[in-house]
Amino acid sequence: MTEKLNDVISRVVVDTFEKLAFMFAFPEEGKGTEPSGDLVRAGVSFLGPFSGQVVICISSVVLPELGANMLGMDDEAGVTLENQHDALKEAINVICGNLLPAIAGEEPVFNMDMPRILSLNDIPSGDHLARVRLEFDDGHCEVMVHLDGQIPEEITNQIAL
C-alpha cells in the first residue's frame, strides 16, 4: 500500500505546485536526496475517520519563487518572509485538502486545522504512513503523512491503494 500511497502523494504535490504556483516538481528516483541546507517546515493536522498531520519540509531557496508566483510578483526579492511562509502554508493546506479525499474518497468528512509553520520539534517523532521526496530546479521538498493511529479497515477496504 505504501508505494501506491507515495504515488498518490507525489501526484497531489506535483499538481498543487504546478497549478498553484506554476512550479514544476519531479519525484526523486530511489530513496532520493535527504533535504539539506536551510529548510522550512509547515504542516496541517486533520481529524476524521483517521487523524494525523501532513508535513512539508522544503528548501528555503524555493520559497521566494513560490511566494512571487502565487502573488503574481515579478521580483522574488520583494517577497517578504511573511509572504513566503503564507505561500507555503497555503500550499500544504491545498496538498492536505486534496490528499485526504484521494486516500479515503469523497464520502468521509475531515476537519483540517489551520496550516502552520513548524519547528523541528513540532514534527511527529513516530512512524510516518508515507513519505515522498521531490526536487525543484533549485531545491528539494519532502512531504510526509503521519497518523495518530491506523487507517480503519473499512476505509482501507474502500481505497484503491
Partner: protein, 133 residues
C-alpha cells in the same frame, strides 16, 4: 459591467492569487474589498455595495459557512452571489454549501474555472472579442 468584489480568505497570498486570477480571466472589477475572516467580511458587507463574494471556508474568528448563513439571513445581502473557493473534499459538505446557494470551486483552481463560474453566477455575456461584460 465592472463589479464590486469581496474576497474573504485568511491567507493574504490566496487573496492576491484570487485577484490575479480574476485579472487573467478578464473579469472587469470596480472596487475590491478584502477580509481575512467572515466577521470582517460581514463588516464590509454592511458598509459597501458588493456584487460578488468569493469566500474561503476554513478561517479563524468566523468561518466561511457561518458567513454565508449570516448573509442569507439578512435581506440586504441574501441575494449576493457567493463563490466558495476551498480545498474541501467531502461531498456531503460541498452539497451542504451548494444547498445554501453557494457555488463551489476547488483549490487549486484555474483562471478558466474562475471565469466560467463568475460568468455563470453573475449572468455575464461573452463579447465578440472574447471579453465579458
Amino acid at each position: 459591467m465592472a463589479i464590486n468584489l469581496l474576497v474573504v480568505d485568511d491567507s493574504k497570498v490566496m487573496r492576491a492569487m484570487v485577484l490575479k486570477t480574476m485579472g487573467m480571466a478578464e473579469i472587469p472589477l470596480s472596487e475590491v474589498y478584502e477580509a481575512s475572516n467572515g466577521q470582517e467580511g460581514l463588516d464590509l458587507l454592511d458598509n459597501h455595495w458588493i456584487d460578488l463574494a468569493i469566500v474561503d471556508i476554513n478561517m479563524p474568528v468566523m468561518n466561511g459557512e457561518e458567513l454565508i448563513d449570516r448573509m442569507k439571513e439578512n435581506p440586504e445581502t441574501k441575494d449576493i452571489p457567493v463563490v466558495v473557493i476551498s480545498t474541501e473534499g467531502s461531498k456531503a459538505r460541498i452539497e451542504r454549501l451548494q444547498r445554501k446557494g453557494a457555488t463551489f470551486i476547488h483549490k487549486p483552481f484555474s483562471a478558466e474555472a474562475i471565469r466560467d463560474t463568475v460568468k455563470h453566477v453573475l449572468k455575464m455575456e461573452d463579447r465578440d472579442d472574447g471579453k465579458i461584460e
